[in-house]
Protein backbone atom coordinates (compact mmCIF):
# COMPACT_ATOMS: atom_id res chain seq x y z
CA UNK A 1 0.00 0.00 0.00
CA UNK A 2 1.15 3.49 -0.72
CA UNK A 3 0.13 6.99 0.09
CA UNK A 4 -2.72 9.00 -1.38
CA UNK A 5 -2.43 12.77 -1.14
CA UNK A 6 -5.77 14.61 -1.12
CA UNK A 7 -5.92 18.32 -1.91
CA UNK A 8 -8.57 19.54 0.54
CA UNK A 9 -10.56 22.64 -0.37
CA UNK A 10 -12.56 24.76 2.03
CA UNK A 11 -14.88 27.72 1.91
CA UNK A 12 -14.42 30.06 4.89
CA UNK A 13 -13.21 27.29 7.13
CA UNK A 14 -15.73 24.64 6.04
CA UNK A 15 -14.44 21.56 4.23
CA UNK A 16 -16.06 21.21 0.79
CA UNK A 17 -18.25 18.17 0.16
CA UNK A 18 -16.19 17.34 -2.94
CA UNK A 19 -13.07 17.08 -0.76
CA UNK A 20 -14.91 14.84 1.74
CA UNK A 21 -15.80 12.55 -1.19
CA UNK A 22 -12.10 12.24 -2.07
CA UNK A 23 -10.89 11.72 1.52
CA UNK A 24 -13.40 8.92 2.09
CA UNK A 25 -12.62 7.25 -1.25
CA UNK A 26 -8.90 7.37 -0.46
CA UNK A 27 -9.48 5.97 3.05
CA UNK A 28 -11.60 3.10 1.70
CA UNK A 29 -8.76 2.07 -0.62
CA UNK A 30 -6.67 1.01 2.39
CA UNK A 31 -3.85 3.42 1.52
CA UNK A 32 -2.41 5.92 3.98
CA UNK A 33 -4.27 9.17 3.41
CA UNK A 34 -2.42 12.46 3.69
CA UNK A 35 -4.24 15.74 3.10
CA UNK A 36 -3.00 19.20 2.28
CA UNK A 37 -4.79 22.51 2.84
CA UNK A 38 -3.73 26.16 2.66
CA UNK A 39 -4.53 29.58 4.08
CA UNK A 40 -5.38 31.27 7.37
CA UNK A 41 -8.46 29.01 7.73
CA UNK A 42 -6.40 25.83 7.22
CA UNK A 43 -6.52 25.03 10.94
CA UNK A 44 -10.33 25.13 10.94
CA UNK A 45 -10.66 22.05 8.71
CA UNK A 46 -7.95 19.74 10.04
CA UNK A 47 -10.38 18.07 12.47
CA UNK A 48 -12.93 17.40 9.70
CA UNK A 49 -10.14 16.11 7.46
CA UNK A 50 -9.18 13.61 10.17
CA UNK A 51 -12.80 12.57 10.75
CA UNK A 52 -13.09 11.74 7.05
CA UNK A 53 -10.09 9.44 6.84
CA UNK A 54 -6.75 11.28 6.63
CA UNK A 55 -4.10 10.28 9.17
CA UNK A 56 -1.90 13.26 8.42
CA UNK A 57 -2.66 16.77 7.18
CA UNK A 58 -0.11 19.26 5.92
CA UNK A 59 -1.09 22.90 6.40
CA UNK A 60 0.46 26.16 5.25
CA UNK A 61 -1.35 28.66 7.48
CA UNK A 62 -0.22 31.72 5.56
CA UNK A 63 -2.78 34.40 4.74
CA UNK A 64 -0.91 34.90 1.46
CA UNK A 65 -2.50 31.59 0.41
CA UNK A 66 -6.08 32.65 1.26
CA UNK A 67 -6.77 33.26 -2.39
CA UNK A 68 -5.66 30.95 -5.15
CA UNK A 69 -2.51 31.87 -7.03
CA UNK A 70 -1.24 29.30 -9.56
CA UNK A 71 2.42 29.99 -8.86
CA UNK A 72 2.32 29.97 -5.07
CA UNK A 73 -0.05 27.00 -4.91
CA UNK A 74 2.11 25.01 -7.36
CA UNK A 75 5.24 25.72 -5.30
CA UNK A 76 3.54 24.66 -2.06
CA UNK A 77 1.87 21.54 -3.42
CA UNK A 78 5.11 20.39 -5.03
CA UNK A 79 7.10 21.02 -1.83
CA UNK A 80 4.65 18.89 0.17
CA UNK A 81 4.49 16.17 -2.50
CA UNK A 82 8.27 15.92 -2.37
CA UNK A 83 8.08 15.43 1.40
CA UNK A 84 5.16 13.01 1.45
CA UNK A 85 6.07 11.00 -1.68
CA UNK A 86 2.53 9.87 -2.57
CA UNK A 87 1.80 7.50 -5.43
CA UNK A 88 -1.62 9.03 -6.08
CA UNK A 89 -2.94 12.60 -5.80
CA UNK A 90 -6.69 13.29 -5.70
CA UNK A 91 -8.24 16.72 -6.14
CA UNK A 92 -11.59 18.14 -7.20
CA UNK A 93 -12.11 19.26 -10.79
CA UNK A 94 -13.00 22.66 -9.30
CA UNK A 95 -11.82 26.05 -10.59
CA UNK A 96 -8.73 25.67 -8.43
CA UNK A 97 -8.13 21.97 -9.05
CA UNK A 98 -8.40 22.23 -12.82
CA UNK A 99 -6.09 25.25 -12.95
CA UNK A 100 -3.49 24.05 -10.46
CA UNK A 101 -2.86 20.36 -11.04
CA UNK A 102 -1.87 20.41 -14.73
CA UNK A 103 0.88 22.85 -13.70
CA UNK A 104 1.84 20.61 -10.75
CA UNK A 105 1.88 17.58 -13.08
CA UNK A 106 4.18 19.34 -15.53
CA UNK A 107 6.58 20.25 -12.73
CA UNK A 108 6.54 16.69 -11.34
CA UNK A 109 6.95 15.19 -14.83
CA UNK A 110 3.80 13.12 -14.37
CA UNK A 111 0.33 12.63 -15.82
CA UNK A 112 -2.99 14.15 -14.85
CA UNK A 113 -6.52 12.98 -15.67
CA UNK A 114 -9.01 15.82 -15.41
CA UNK A 115 -12.80 15.94 -15.09
CA UNK A 116 -13.24 12.28 -14.09
CA UNK A 117 -16.56 10.80 -13.01
CA UNK A 118 -15.50 7.34 -11.77
CA UNK A 119 -12.59 6.36 -9.56
CA UNK A 120 -11.20 2.96 -8.61
CA UNK A 121 -8.13 2.73 -6.40
CA UNK A 122 -6.38 -0.59 -6.01
CA UNK A 123 -3.10 -0.40 -4.11
CA UNK A 124 -0.84 2.02 -5.95
CA UNK A 125 -3.00 1.83 -9.05
CA UNK A 126 -5.82 4.10 -9.94
CA UNK A 127 -8.33 3.79 -12.75
CA UNK A 128 -10.46 6.73 -13.67
CA UNK A 129 -13.26 7.12 -16.17
CA UNK A 130 -14.07 10.43 -17.80
CA UNK A 131 -16.71 11.70 -20.19
CA UNK A 132 -15.40 12.65 -23.64
CA UNK A 133 -16.97 14.53 -26.55
CA UNK A 134 -19.46 16.34 -24.30
CA UNK A 135 -20.64 13.14 -22.67
CA UNK A 136 -21.21 11.32 -25.96
CA UNK A 137 -18.56 8.76 -24.93
CA UNK A 138 -16.74 7.57 -21.80
CA UNK A 139 -13.04 6.64 -21.66
CA UNK A 140 -10.86 4.84 -19.14
CA UNK A 141 -7.72 6.84 -18.40
CA UNK A 142 -4.50 4.85 -18.22
CA UNK A 143 -1.43 6.46 -16.76
CA UNK A 144 1.93 5.81 -18.41
CA UNK A 145 5.36 7.08 -17.39
CA UNK A 146 3.69 8.67 -14.39
CA UNK A 147 5.48 8.27 -11.04
CA UNK A 148 2.47 9.97 -9.41
CA UNK A 149 -1.02 9.54 -10.79
CA UNK A 150 -3.08 12.71 -10.46
CA UNK A 151 -6.87 12.40 -10.77
CA UNK A 152 -9.26 15.37 -10.72
CA UNK A 153 -12.82 14.32 -9.92
CA UNK A 154 -16.05 16.11 -10.70
CA UNK A 155 -18.10 16.91 -7.58
CA UNK A 156 -21.04 14.68 -6.50
CA UNK A 157 -19.66 11.51 -8.14
CA UNK A 158 -18.62 9.57 -5.02
CA UNK A 159 -20.68 8.55 -1.99
CA UNK A 160 -20.28 10.33 1.32
CA UNK A 161 -20.85 8.58 4.63
CA UNK A 162 -21.09 10.11 8.10
CA UNK A 163 -17.75 11.34 9.41
CA UNK A 164 -16.10 9.28 12.18
CA UNK A 165 -15.34 11.83 14.90
CA UNK A 166 -13.16 9.35 16.78
CA UNK A 167 -10.55 9.57 14.02
CA UNK A 168 -8.01 12.36 14.00
CA UNK A 169 -5.17 13.48 11.77
CA UNK A 170 -1.67 14.45 12.78
CA UNK A 171 -1.19 18.10 11.77
CA UNK A 172 2.12 19.04 10.12
CA UNK A 173 2.81 22.78 9.76
CA UNK A 174 4.74 23.92 6.70
CA UNK A 175 6.05 27.35 5.78
CA UNK A 176 5.05 29.08 2.55
CA UNK A 177 7.39 27.78 -0.16
CA UNK A 178 6.62 30.47 -2.74
CA UNK A 179 9.05 33.21 -3.72
CA UNK A 180 9.26 35.84 -6.48
CA UNK A 181 5.75 35.56 -7.90
CA UNK A 182 5.03 36.85 -11.40
CA UNK A 183 1.29 36.60 -10.75
CA UNK A 184 -0.53 38.96 -8.44
CA UNK A 185 -4.17 38.58 -7.40
CA UNK A 186 -5.32 42.19 -7.23
CA UNK A 187 -8.93 41.80 -6.25
CA UNK A 188 -11.65 39.22 -5.71
CA UNK A 189 -15.07 40.33 -6.89
CA UNK A 190 -17.71 38.35 -5.00
CA UNK A 191 -20.43 36.61 -6.94
CA UNK A 192 -24.03 37.71 -6.70
CA UNK A 193 -25.16 34.35 -5.38
CA UNK A 194 -24.46 32.87 -1.98
CA UNK A 195 -25.69 29.51 -3.25
CA UNK A 196 -23.45 26.57 -4.16
CA UNK A 197 -21.83 26.86 -7.57
CA UNK A 198 -23.56 24.95 -10.37
CA UNK A 199 -20.60 22.57 -10.62
CA UNK A 200 -21.02 21.57 -6.96
CA UNK A 201 -24.79 21.77 -6.63
CA UNK A 202 -26.71 18.62 -5.79
CA UNK A 203 -29.97 20.01 -7.21
CA UNK A 204 -30.24 22.43 -10.15
CA UNK A 205 -33.34 24.21 -11.44
CA UNK A 206 -32.61 25.52 -14.93
CA UNK A 207 -34.56 27.81 -17.23
CA UNK A 208 -34.66 28.31 -20.99
CA UNK A 209 -36.34 30.49 -23.54
CA UNK A 210 -39.71 29.02 -22.59
CA UNK A 211 -39.65 31.35 -19.59
CA UNK A 212 -40.30 34.23 -22.05
CA UNK A 213 -38.57 36.99 -20.06
CA UNK A 214 -35.93 37.66 -17.41
CA UNK A 215 -38.44 38.52 -14.68
CA UNK A 216 -39.88 35.01 -14.84
CA UNK A 217 -36.68 33.56 -13.40
CA UNK A 218 -38.14 34.60 -10.03
CA UNK A 219 -40.42 31.59 -10.34
CA UNK A 220 -37.34 29.34 -10.64
CA UNK A 221 -35.61 31.10 -7.75
CA UNK A 222 -38.66 30.40 -5.55
CA UNK A 223 -38.60 26.72 -6.52
CA UNK A 224 -34.82 26.58 -5.97
CA UNK A 225 -35.13 28.16 -2.51
CA UNK A 226 -37.52 25.43 -1.40
CA UNK A 227 -35.23 22.70 -2.73
CA UNK A 228 -31.91 24.24 -1.65
CA UNK A 229 -31.02 24.23 -5.34
CA UNK A 230 -28.85 26.41 -7.56
CA UNK A 231 -30.42 28.11 -10.59
CA UNK A 232 -28.97 27.54 -14.07
CA UNK A 233 -29.85 28.68 -17.56
CA UNK A 234 -29.41 27.91 -21.24
CA UNK A 235 -27.14 29.73 -23.66
CA UNK A 236 -30.08 31.43 -25.38
CA UNK A 237 -31.17 32.99 -22.11
CA UNK A 238 -27.61 34.09 -21.25
CA UNK A 239 -27.07 35.54 -24.73
CA UNK A 240 -30.37 37.42 -24.38
CA UNK A 241 -28.91 39.03 -21.25
CA UNK A 242 -31.58 37.67 -18.86
CA UNK A 243 -28.97 36.15 -16.54
CA UNK A 244 -25.15 36.19 -16.23
CA UNK A 245 -22.80 33.81 -18.03
CA UNK A 246 -21.85 32.19 -14.72
CA UNK A 247 -25.30 30.56 -14.76
CA UNK A 248 -24.94 28.97 -18.21
CA UNK A 249 -25.09 25.18 -18.34
CA UNK A 250 -23.76 23.60 -21.52
CA UNK A 251 -20.96 23.41 -23.99
CA UNK A 252 -19.72 26.99 -23.60
CA UNK A 253 -20.98 27.19 -20.03
CA UNK A 254 -20.63 24.83 -17.10
CA UNK A 255 -20.65 21.06 -17.09
CA UNK A 256 -22.81 19.92 -14.20
CA UNK A 257 -23.63 16.57 -12.64
CA UNK A 258 -26.26 17.05 -9.93
CA UNK A 259 -28.46 14.34 -8.45
CA UNK A 260 -31.54 16.19 -9.69
CA UNK A 261 -31.79 18.53 -12.69
CA UNK A 262 -35.11 20.26 -13.35
CA UNK A 263 -35.24 21.75 -16.87
CA UNK A 264 -37.99 24.33 -17.28
CA UNK A 265 -38.85 25.68 -20.73
CA UNK A 266 -35.68 24.14 -22.18
CA UNK A 267 -36.02 22.47 -25.57
CA UNK A 268 -32.73 20.56 -25.24
CA UNK A 269 -30.19 21.75 -27.82
CA UNK A 270 -27.29 19.34 -28.10
CA UNK A 271 -24.95 21.96 -26.57
CA UNK A 272 -27.15 22.14 -23.49
CA UNK A 273 -27.47 18.35 -23.23
CA UNK A 274 -23.66 18.22 -23.35
CA UNK A 275 -23.51 20.19 -20.11
CA UNK A 276 -26.20 18.44 -18.09
CA UNK A 277 -26.54 14.97 -19.65
CA UNK A 278 -24.78 13.20 -16.79
CA UNK A 279 -27.27 14.43 -14.17
CA UNK A 280 -28.65 11.45 -12.26
CA UNK A 281 -32.36 12.29 -12.47
CA UNK A 282 -33.65 14.75 -15.06
CA UNK A 283 -37.09 16.35 -14.95
CA UNK A 284 -38.25 18.18 -18.09
CA UNK A 285 -41.16 20.62 -18.12
CA UNK A 286 -42.00 21.92 -21.58
CA UNK A 287 -45.13 22.75 -23.57
CA UNK A 288 -43.77 21.02 -26.68
CA UNK A 289 -44.16 17.24 -26.37
CA UNK A 290 -41.59 16.79 -29.17
CA UNK A 291 -38.80 18.78 -27.48
CA UNK A 292 -35.52 16.79 -27.54
CA UNK A 293 -35.09 17.33 -23.78
CA UNK A 294 -37.72 14.60 -23.21
CA UNK A 295 -35.40 12.01 -24.78
CA UNK A 296 -32.87 12.70 -21.99
CA UNK A 297 -35.39 13.11 -19.18
CA UNK A 298 -36.31 10.64 -16.45
CA UNK A 299 -39.66 12.33 -15.83
CA UNK A 300 -41.50 14.56 -18.29
CA UNK A 301 -44.35 17.01 -17.94
CA UNK A 302 -45.92 18.51 -21.03
CA UNK A 303 -47.57 21.74 -20.04
CA UNK A 304 -47.40 25.39 -19.17
CA UNK A 305 -44.42 26.16 -16.92
CA UNK A 306 -46.21 29.19 -15.48
CA UNK A 307 -49.00 26.92 -14.28
CA UNK A 308 -46.88 23.94 -13.13
CA UNK A 309 -43.81 25.47 -11.49
CA UNK A 310 -45.70 27.37 -8.72
CA UNK A 311 -47.72 24.21 -7.99
CA UNK A 312 -44.51 22.17 -7.82
CA UNK A 313 -43.03 24.71 -5.42
CA UNK A 314 -46.06 24.24 -3.14
CA UNK A 315 -45.87 20.42 -3.38
CA UNK A 316 -42.13 20.41 -2.53
CA UNK A 317 -42.83 22.72 0.43
CA UNK A 318 -45.38 20.25 1.75
CA UNK A 319 -43.18 17.21 1.13
CA UNK A 320 -39.98 18.67 2.57
CA UNK A 321 -41.26 20.64 5.54
CA UNK A 322 -43.76 18.50 7.33
Amino acid sequence: MGKVLVFAEQTNGKLKRSSIELLQAAAKSGNTVVAVTFGSHAGDVTAAIGHNGASEVHVVKDGALDSYNPESYTANVVAIVNKVQPSIILASASSTGKDLFPRVAARLNTGVASDCTQLTISGDNVTAVKPMYSGKAFATVNFENSPIKIVLMRANQLPVEAADTSKTANVVENTNAATDLKTLIKEIVKGASEKLDLTEANIIVSGGRGLKEAANFKMLNDLADVLGATVGATRAVVDAGWVGHGMQVGQTGKTVAPTLYIAVGISGAIQHLAGMGSSKVIVAINNDANAPIFQKATYGIVGDAFDIVPKLTEEFKKALHH
Binding site: S95, M132, A284, Y299, I308
Partner: protein, 257 residues
Protein backbone atom coordinates in the same frame (compact mmCIF):
# COMPACT_ATOMS: atom_id res chain seq x y z
CA UNK B 1 5.80 41.84 -30.59
CA UNK B 2 4.85 38.21 -31.20
CA UNK B 3 1.47 37.03 -29.97
CA UNK B 4 0.94 33.27 -30.09
CA UNK B 5 -2.38 31.46 -30.16
CA UNK B 6 -2.56 27.71 -29.58
CA UNK B 7 -5.64 26.08 -31.08
CA UNK B 8 -7.02 22.56 -31.25
CA UNK B 9 -9.18 20.94 -33.89
CA UNK B 10 -12.12 19.04 -32.40
CA UNK B 11 -15.19 17.19 -33.70
CA UNK B 12 -18.12 19.51 -34.25
CA UNK B 13 -20.65 19.27 -31.41
CA UNK B 14 -23.41 18.07 -33.73
CA UNK B 15 -21.25 15.19 -35.04
CA UNK B 16 -22.35 11.69 -34.13
CA UNK B 17 -19.59 9.90 -32.22
CA UNK B 18 -18.69 6.30 -33.07
CA UNK B 19 -16.07 4.34 -31.16
CA UNK B 20 -13.03 2.90 -32.95
CA UNK B 21 -12.82 -0.94 -32.98
CA UNK B 22 -9.90 -0.97 -30.50
CA UNK B 23 -11.86 1.38 -28.18
CA UNK B 24 -8.90 3.75 -27.73
CA UNK B 25 -10.55 6.57 -29.60
CA UNK B 26 -13.28 7.45 -32.05
CA UNK B 27 -13.94 6.37 -35.60
CA UNK B 28 -12.87 9.51 -37.48
CA UNK B 29 -14.69 8.59 -40.71
CA UNK B 30 -17.43 11.11 -41.39
CA UNK B 31 -16.46 13.42 -38.52
CA UNK B 32 -16.85 17.13 -39.18
CA UNK B 33 -13.86 18.92 -37.64
CA UNK B 34 -13.93 22.49 -36.38
CA UNK B 35 -11.75 24.85 -34.38
CA UNK B 36 -12.42 24.34 -30.65
CA UNK B 37 -15.07 26.96 -29.78
CA UNK B 38 -13.06 28.51 -26.92
CA UNK B 39 -10.07 28.92 -29.24
CA UNK B 40 -12.11 31.33 -31.36
CA UNK B 41 -12.12 33.73 -28.40
CA UNK B 42 -8.34 33.26 -28.13
CA UNK B 43 -7.80 34.06 -31.84
CA UNK B 44 -10.09 37.09 -31.62
CA UNK B 45 -8.34 38.52 -28.56
CA UNK B 46 -4.94 38.04 -30.21
CA UNK B 47 -6.18 39.86 -33.33
CA UNK B 48 -7.52 42.73 -31.23
CA UNK B 49 -4.22 43.01 -29.37
CA UNK B 50 -2.27 42.96 -32.65
CA UNK B 51 -4.54 45.64 -34.13
CA UNK B 52 -3.91 47.88 -31.12
CA UNK B 53 -0.12 47.40 -31.30
CA UNK B 54 1.41 48.39 -34.63
CA UNK B 55 4.10 45.97 -35.74
CA UNK B 56 2.71 43.10 -33.66
CA UNK B 57 2.07 39.72 -35.28
CA UNK B 58 -0.30 36.86 -34.48
CA UNK B 59 1.16 33.36 -34.81
CA UNK B 60 -1.29 30.50 -34.56
CA UNK B 61 -0.11 26.98 -33.67
CA UNK B 62 -1.74 23.59 -33.60
CA UNK B 63 -0.48 20.08 -32.92
CA UNK B 64 -2.06 17.02 -34.51
CA UNK B 65 -2.30 15.15 -37.80
CA UNK B 66 -1.18 17.72 -40.38
CA UNK B 67 -3.59 16.66 -43.10
CA UNK B 68 -6.67 17.81 -41.22
CA UNK B 69 -5.37 20.22 -38.59
CA UNK B 70 -4.24 22.71 -41.27
CA UNK B 71 -7.92 23.35 -41.97
CA UNK B 72 -8.44 24.88 -38.53
CA UNK B 73 -5.21 26.84 -38.93
CA UNK B 74 -6.59 28.25 -42.20
CA UNK B 75 -9.75 29.25 -40.37
CA UNK B 76 -7.58 31.17 -37.88
CA UNK B 77 -5.67 32.79 -40.75
CA UNK B 78 -8.96 33.75 -42.38
CA UNK B 79 -10.02 35.35 -39.08
CA UNK B 80 -6.91 37.51 -39.30
CA UNK B 81 -3.91 35.63 -37.85
CA UNK B 82 -0.65 36.47 -39.65
CA UNK B 83 1.30 33.20 -39.57
CA UNK B 84 0.53 29.55 -38.84
CA UNK B 85 2.55 26.54 -37.73
CA UNK B 86 1.42 22.93 -37.66
CA UNK B 87 3.20 20.43 -35.43
CA UNK B 88 2.57 17.16 -37.22
CA UNK B 89 2.04 14.29 -34.80
CA UNK B 90 -0.47 11.62 -33.79
CA UNK B 91 -1.40 10.09 -30.46
CA UNK B 92 -0.18 13.08 -28.44
CA UNK B 93 -1.62 13.60 -24.97
CA UNK B 94 -1.95 16.87 -23.04
CA UNK B 95 1.57 16.65 -21.56
CA UNK B 96 3.40 16.00 -24.84
CA UNK B 97 1.25 18.53 -26.71
CA UNK B 98 2.04 21.21 -24.12
CA UNK B 99 5.74 20.39 -24.36
CA UNK B 100 5.71 20.50 -28.16
CA UNK B 101 3.90 23.87 -28.19
CA UNK B 102 6.34 25.26 -25.61
CA UNK B 103 9.36 24.03 -27.62
CA UNK B 104 8.11 25.60 -30.84
CA UNK B 105 7.20 28.90 -29.14
CA UNK B 106 10.68 29.01 -27.57
CA UNK B 107 12.30 28.31 -30.94
CA UNK B 108 10.25 31.01 -32.68
CA UNK B 109 11.26 33.41 -29.91
CA UNK B 110 10.17 36.76 -28.65
CA UNK B 111 6.80 35.73 -27.29
CA UNK B 112 4.95 38.29 -25.25
CA UNK B 113 1.51 36.81 -24.76
CA UNK B 114 0.17 33.35 -25.56
CA UNK B 115 -3.56 32.79 -25.86
CA UNK B 116 -5.36 29.45 -25.68
CA UNK B 117 -8.95 28.40 -25.15
CA UNK B 118 -9.76 27.52 -21.52
CA UNK B 119 -10.36 23.91 -22.56
CA UNK B 120 -11.02 21.75 -25.61
CA UNK B 121 -14.50 20.32 -25.89
CA UNK B 122 -13.29 16.87 -27.02
CA UNK B 123 -11.47 15.73 -23.87
CA UNK B 124 -12.67 18.59 -21.61
CA UNK B 125 -9.31 18.37 -19.83
CA UNK B 126 -8.33 22.06 -19.48
CA UNK B 127 -4.68 21.26 -18.94
CA UNK B 128 -2.52 22.18 -21.95
CA UNK B 129 -2.30 25.93 -21.27
CA UNK B 130 -1.18 25.44 -17.66
CA UNK B 131 1.36 22.73 -18.58
CA UNK B 132 2.72 24.86 -21.41
CA UNK B 133 3.10 27.84 -19.04
CA UNK B 134 5.06 25.62 -16.67
CA UNK B 135 7.35 24.35 -19.47
CA UNK B 136 7.93 27.97 -20.56
CA UNK B 137 8.39 29.02 -16.91
CA UNK B 138 5.90 31.86 -17.29
CA UNK B 139 2.72 32.77 -15.37
CA UNK B 140 -0.71 31.74 -16.58
CA UNK B 141 -4.37 32.47 -15.92
CA UNK B 142 -7.22 30.38 -17.28
CA UNK B 143 -10.99 30.99 -17.63
CA UNK B 144 -10.37 34.62 -18.58
CA UNK B 145 -13.27 36.84 -19.61
CA UNK B 146 -11.52 40.24 -19.63
CA UNK B 147 -8.04 41.13 -20.87
CA UNK B 148 -5.93 44.29 -20.84
CA UNK B 149 -2.27 44.86 -21.73
CA UNK B 150 -0.35 48.02 -20.77
CA UNK B 151 2.80 47.28 -22.76
CA UNK B 152 4.42 45.51 -19.85
CA UNK B 153 1.90 43.65 -17.71
CA UNK B 154 -1.43 42.05 -18.42
CA UNK B 155 -4.46 42.38 -16.21
CA UNK B 156 -7.21 39.79 -16.64
CA UNK B 157 -10.47 38.80 -15.02
CA UNK B 158 -10.82 35.13 -14.22
CA UNK B 159 -14.26 33.55 -13.71
CA UNK B 160 -14.40 31.33 -10.65
CA UNK B 161 -17.12 29.53 -8.71
CA UNK B 162 -20.40 31.11 -7.69
CA UNK B 163 -20.18 33.90 -10.26
CA UNK B 164 -17.14 35.37 -8.49
CA UNK B 165 -14.26 36.93 -10.42
CA UNK B 166 -10.59 37.34 -9.63
CA UNK B 167 -8.65 40.28 -11.02
CA UNK B 168 -5.17 38.99 -11.79
CA UNK B 169 -2.08 40.86 -12.89
CA UNK B 170 0.73 38.95 -14.58
CA UNK B 171 4.19 39.89 -15.78
CA UNK B 172 4.77 39.06 -19.42
CA UNK B 173 5.40 36.76 -21.09
CA UNK B 174 2.22 35.10 -19.88
CA UNK B 175 -0.33 32.47 -20.94
CA UNK B 176 -4.02 33.43 -21.05
CA UNK B 177 -6.80 30.81 -21.34
CA UNK B 178 -9.90 32.38 -22.92
CA UNK B 179 -13.44 31.89 -21.67
CA UNK B 180 -16.71 32.78 -23.34
CA UNK B 181 -17.49 36.44 -22.68
CA UNK B 182 -13.97 37.67 -23.50
CA UNK B 183 -15.09 39.05 -26.87
CA UNK B 184 -17.27 38.37 -29.90
CA UNK B 185 -15.13 36.41 -32.39
CA UNK B 186 -15.20 37.92 -35.87
CA UNK B 187 -16.33 35.88 -38.83
CA UNK B 188 -13.75 35.11 -41.47
CA UNK B 189 -14.24 37.58 -44.33
CA UNK B 190 -14.20 36.42 -47.95
CA UNK B 191 -10.96 38.33 -48.68
CA UNK B 192 -9.59 36.80 -45.47
CA UNK B 193 -10.50 33.31 -46.65
CA UNK B 194 -8.89 33.94 -50.08
CA UNK B 195 -5.73 35.27 -48.42
CA UNK B 196 -5.61 32.35 -45.97
CA UNK B 197 -5.73 29.85 -48.84
CA UNK B 198 -2.53 31.27 -50.30
CA UNK B 199 -0.60 31.40 -47.01
CA UNK B 200 2.22 28.93 -46.47
CA UNK B 201 1.73 27.06 -43.21
CA UNK B 202 5.04 26.18 -41.60
CA UNK B 203 5.34 22.46 -40.87
CA UNK B 204 7.26 20.99 -37.96
CA UNK B 205 7.45 17.24 -37.33
CA UNK B 206 6.73 16.33 -33.70
CA UNK B 207 9.49 13.71 -34.02
CA UNK B 208 12.04 16.46 -34.78
CA UNK B 209 11.43 18.14 -31.41
CA UNK B 210 13.40 15.58 -29.34
CA UNK B 211 10.52 15.05 -26.95
CA UNK B 212 11.01 11.59 -25.38
CA UNK B 213 8.36 8.90 -25.73
CA UNK B 214 8.08 8.96 -21.92
CA UNK B 215 6.44 12.36 -22.24
CA UNK B 216 3.22 10.63 -23.23
CA UNK B 217 1.62 10.30 -19.81
CA UNK B 218 -2.02 9.46 -20.45
CA UNK B 219 -3.70 7.06 -22.85
CA UNK B 220 -7.34 6.15 -23.25
CA UNK B 221 -8.86 2.69 -23.49
CA UNK B 222 -12.22 1.01 -23.11
CA UNK B 223 -14.00 3.89 -24.76
CA UNK B 224 -17.74 3.28 -24.74
CA UNK B 225 -20.94 5.07 -25.65
CA UNK B 226 -23.20 6.04 -22.76
CA UNK B 227 -25.68 3.38 -21.68
CA UNK B 228 -29.17 3.82 -23.08
CA UNK B 229 -31.40 5.75 -20.77
CA UNK B 230 -34.68 4.15 -19.74
CA UNK B 231 -37.58 5.77 -21.57
CA UNK B 232 -38.92 8.96 -20.07
CA UNK B 233 -41.91 8.58 -17.77
CA UNK B 234 -44.48 11.15 -18.89
CA UNK B 235 -46.84 12.36 -16.18
CA UNK B 236 -50.52 12.76 -16.88
CA UNK B 237 -53.48 14.61 -15.40
CA UNK B 238 -53.92 18.32 -14.77
CA UNK B 239 -51.06 20.44 -13.51
CA UNK B 240 -51.92 19.85 -9.84
CA UNK B 241 -51.95 16.09 -10.35
CA UNK B 242 -48.68 16.24 -12.31
CA UNK B 243 -46.97 18.29 -9.62
CA UNK B 244 -48.11 15.92 -6.86
CA UNK B 245 -47.12 12.85 -8.88
CA UNK B 246 -43.67 14.24 -9.66
CA UNK B 247 -42.87 14.99 -6.02
CA UNK B 248 -44.04 11.50 -5.06
CA UNK B 249 -41.86 9.86 -7.76
CA UNK B 250 -38.79 11.91 -6.84
CA UNK B 251 -39.21 10.91 -3.21
CA UNK B 252 -40.32 7.29 -3.44
CA UNK B 253 -38.99 6.01 -6.79
CA UNK B 254 -35.92 8.09 -7.68
CA UNK B 255 -35.16 8.74 -3.97
CA UNK B 256 -33.49 12.07 -4.62
CA UNK B 257 -35.38 14.16 -2.05
Amino acid sequence: MKIFVCIKQVPDTETKIKISPDQTGIDTAGIKWVMNPYDEYAVEEANKLRDANPGAQVWVLSAGPKARVVESLRTALAMGADEAIVINGEGLDNFSTAKALAEVIKAEGGMKIIFTGKLAIDDNASSVSQMMAEFLNVPHTTVVSKFAFNGENVTVERDVEGGAKEVVQMMTPAVVGANKGLNMPRYASLPGIMKAKKKVIKEIEFSSLNIPATDIKVKYSGMTLPADKPAVKMLSGDSSAQAAELVKLLRDEAKVL
